[in-house]
Symmetry: C2
Subunit: 471 residues, 2 copies
């Protein structure tokens, strides 16, 4: 990837100054909304609204054109129509503005005429060396740069997960679920028509971005299939990549993403190839994408796939193991030393199910006992990570500190699944997740989390065995 | 099913008076919590706390024993330990109390000794004709009867969906998700050890319960497999039953639930048998269970499986069709007359994708246009139901009234999938769902909803074709 492109992408996510071309005082226009979003999002740099006649907008002085802005502009957010966008890009080029976000649609997605207009847009951008997001995009968010260039004023929790979405709509669905799950976001981009910046370009940028710990991708289909898969596979060796690939109806289209392009085989077969051959963690839903990204960004990786489960209610552990059963996970029996430690704690014939899953029945409601049992299971040398299932009960509190302590003292990952009606759950999440324990409220999403952690643990082990550096 | 059992089950869900045996003033005891839950839930009948010494509890007069309660008791909620529970059931029998909820564990789930105690409990209950929920249960909720007999004070929206859960933990996970989704609940029961009331008994009761429109079931495994499947299949002919079966790791265990008990085959194969042969709608997650129950309780059934999709963002429609692709759903092309109506509305060459899914791009943000397009697609004689995808945008409002009008004027089901960050979504849900349009915020859950509706539409058609009455 060219250094200039990388630099202009960095500028897109960390601008020091932004011009909004097409800013307006009509609250029903995108030019109004994006200016509002940028201000609401707490952007710390300078903002220059551009409008031919207005004096001020949302408290800011307005400039009649890009030329008249008194200072350098890092990013032009262009909200004018598809035709005026082309002229504005040329203007950016002349003024040395190297990065732009082009919101308007009306290009190749609308037919022949739109395609020709897009080709003009691309040639103008290339001529002047302008990198552009879109066109036809829902926008871009960089919580790291306090920069929210979208239609809707948002404020997201900061985190280590960055998302590249080929669909604005699914991108927004992901954000919605991420907010529900307390998943911190670092960067988010709706790639739009990908006229000058391809999905691979965003991946390359995020790969070297130190603020990004995990990359989530929503894919529909792309002409740059081979570069995309090779790029993602290379990145996955050092930074987890989670992929939700839609458009699976047609296995042929999916096959096109592999090296060989073999046209036979089911979606599931291709998914396995992507997992095994390319190391990418493939998911089947928005919920699983968010669950996996959360686990990979919050928790450390386990040393292997040997799962311990602690619960005081059987159903959730059964549903969890069902949902996780098709992955690289094993649920080994507890070692004798472990069982002896449990008996030391609870007596010779404790009223619990002395297996893995360890079902403590009523005893485990007490947070202190629950925490000691969590630690005992985690200390078992045959266990690499623990899922701790705890059921809401009016008399007892969630064992938050106890789980953190168990995780800390054993140095192995803990994933919490709290059976709840949300009572106390948000508070628990604010305690657990910043300290490295991701919290879920459904068995299937917990399974997705475990699967993602084990997948990247195995990938790292395989790379180490083969002498490949794993970051 | 015996008439007396049916009557005592009705009493369990609609008691006029309740005694709480083991009520206490220690806020860390179940006897305190359940009394609190009953009062917090707004129970309208008489409540008699039973305690040997206390005078009042939570504002109510306390009675030293069941014998001394001044009036008839419909249901005894028994929160004393497993041994005292057996004596209390005998007492209930002598006093003519025919229904009890037994919370305590410590029976067959703990081993030989517990099994013997449970056998005694059962024989005492049978001898006196007492129907009991549990033992070892999280409790029972009847929003229809304003009766909340659980450990945790809750207040749920009323609705038509009743749930039978073999696991208290998963039952609570379902309630949690139901609350998130605005799904109204009618009755909920954690079946516990099923000592006298089996899952089939609850199903029989809910089948004839006019307040219950849809039955959701979470199953682990059961010894009464054959009766259960036959009962559920019979009920499914007149009332939708949605089943989440866990314990799928072992396909053999699953096979045990079929007539033949054939031990070979995958989970997916058995799932298909349950769907096709028994007519049950099988789901793979808590989220899908709730999505399906919501669709079946909120929406009318479509006439068939021919799906129309209206969107202004491609990704969500692609992900939706992917997730729905393995079911009995087709996505037929729009008829010429339909395309002509769209052109009449938007001009000869409208900037939209004139296919099914109908992608309106930018045009569809205006609620009026969106509503007219929804109506045009629904009017297409080749379309049985519509998924309406609408993406949150600061300048535009959700087309709630328009979708209701389209559904009303065409008499075909509409399912809404709003791409949102929750802004406006709760309000939209409160408008749409009571008027018959279920609202979702993820493509996969929308697909689950469509699949459930189409499944029961097809089942009804098949039954009609074969001359079987479909309710």
């Amino acid at each position: 990837m060219e250094k200039e492109v990388l630099q202009s992408m960095h500028t897109l996510f960390y601008p020091r100054s932004v011009a909004v071309v097409g800013a307006t005082d009509s609250p029903d226009r995108v030019g109004f909304n994006i200016l509002e979003s940028i201000l609401y999002g707490g952007f710390k740099g300078r903002v220059f609204p551009i409008h031919p006649r207005l004096q001020t907008l949302q408290g800011l002085p307005v400039y009649p054109s890009l030329e008249e802005v008194p200072g350098p502009v890092d990013v032009a957010v262009i909200t004018v129509n598809q035709f005026a966008t082309v002229d504005t890009i040329a203007q950016c080029g002349r003024l040395g503005i190297k990065a732009a976000i082009c919101v308007a649609g009306g290009y190749r997605e609308t037919g022949e005429e739109g395609l020709r207009l897009e080709q003009r847009l691309v040639s103008v951008a290339r001529e002047h060396g302008v990198s552009l997001v879109g066109p036809n995009t829902l926008g871009l968010i960089s919580t790291a740069g306090d920069f929210y260039a979208t239609f809707y004023p948002l404020k997201l929790p900061k985190g280590k997960v960055s998302l590249v979405s080929q669909s604005g709509g699914i991108g927004l669905t992901i954000m919605h679920k991420a907010a529900d799950e307390g998943l911190g976001i670092n960067k988010w981009v709706g790639v739009g028509n990908r006229s000058t910046l391809e999905i691979s370009d965003y991946l390359e940028y995020l790969a070297q971005d130190e603020e990004t710990g995990v990359i989530g991708v929503f894919l529909e289909g792309t002409e740059e299939a081979r570069r995309l898969v090779e790029t993602a596979a290379r990145i996955a060796k050092t930074k987890p990549v989670v992929v939700y690939k839609a458009g699976r109806l047609n296995a042929t289209a999916f096959a096109a993403l592999t090296h060989t392009g073999t046209a036979s085989g089911s979606y599931r077969m291709y998914r396995d190839i992507f997992m095994d051959q390319f190391g990418l963690f493939m998911v089947d839903s928005v919920a699983e994408l968010v669950a996996a990204c959360k686990a990979l960004s919050v928790s450390a990786l386990p040393a292997g796939g040997r799962l311990g489960v602690l619960t005081h209610t059987a159903g959730p552990s059964i549903a969890l193991l069902d949902a996780a059963s098709h992955r690289e996970i094993s649920v080994p029996p507890l070692q004798e030393a472990t069982i002896n430690k449990i008996k030391e704690l609870l007596g010779e014939n404790p009223p619990v199910v002395l297996k893995n899953p360890l079902d403590t029945v009523g005893l485990g409601f007490e947070a202190g006992i629950y925490g000691r049992l969590a630690k005992i299971v985690l200390e078992d040398p045959a266990i690499d990570l623990l899922v701790a299932i705890y059921c809401l009960h009016k008399n007892w509190r969630f064992p938050n500190q106890e789980l953190l302590e168990a995780q800390h003292s054993c140095g192995k990952p803990v994933i919490a699944y709290y059976v709840s009606t949300w009572a106390g759950c948000h508070e628990a999440r604010d305690i657990l997740q910043p300290a490295g324990v991701p919290l879920y409220t459904s068995p299937e999403e917990t399974a997705g989390a475990v699967s993602a952690l084990v997948h990247y643990s195995n990938l790292n082990s395989n790379l180490k065995r083969r002498g490949v550096h794993a970051g």
